[in-house]
Symmetry: C2
Subunit: 122 residues, 2 copies
């Protein structure tokens, strides 16, 4: 859980502007700092910085094409990012269930059910 190894991917995808950039890139197949900034409420330079971050995280690759530099999403890496989002989500989901069950057990027996409780260790 929160393996602190892949916090890079998370933080890359954690920024709202970067998320919207990925949306646009997916929708249009590719884009440049300029083209993206026209669709977003930030300047070209801000977008350029975000593209650098996304590139370093491996979520997009940029290739020079004449006077412009076109970026496209790395589908495999994005898939990995999505997997991590889902992982955190389902981890929490399962914890919620567990807590509910423990609460019920306490209600019924007056004592926590050690069998159900042990899933910790960090």
């Amino acid at each position: 859980m929160s393996t602190r190894v892949d916090d890079d991917l998370w933080s890359a995808v954690g920024d709202p502007t970067r998320r919207r950039m990925i949306d646009r890139l997916l929708a249009e197949g590719s884009g440049t700092a300029t083209s993206l900034s026209e669709q977003l409420p930030v300047t070209r330079q801000a977008v350029a910085k975000h593209l650098a971050v996304l590139d370093k995280a491996g979520l997009v690759h940029g290739a020079a094409a004449g006077r412009e530099r076109r970026y496209r999403v790395d589908e495999a890496q994005l898939a990995r990012a999505v997997a991590q989002l889902n992982a955190v989500g389902s981890a929490w989901d399962s914890r919620l269930d567990r807590i509910k069950r423990i609460a019920e057990t306490i209600q019924r027996t007056g004592e926590p059910d050690t069998e159900t409780e042990r899933t910790e260790k960090e």
Copy 2:
């Protein structure tokens, strides 16, 4: 997508330290700034600030109990947050599929299939 209304929830859950705090709170049912800081690589004051953020986002509620202030996760709100994570993930997933299909279509026909292409509008 990225409705910019619920960016609050996202950014609350976007921080790695806050994610780990939620993990711990879920695991133990409740916690205080002090108890959490003992399990995390940050100071009590940092934790306190994060708790304030999480509280404002409605993800946790704190109640004064004697000389300590215990926080617990709001399960409903956390469920909403998880739902949003999943939403973004599956949106991207479906876009990836779509792009792959369009690419195949172009390969076959030499022209983009307008039927498949229309899912945009922002």
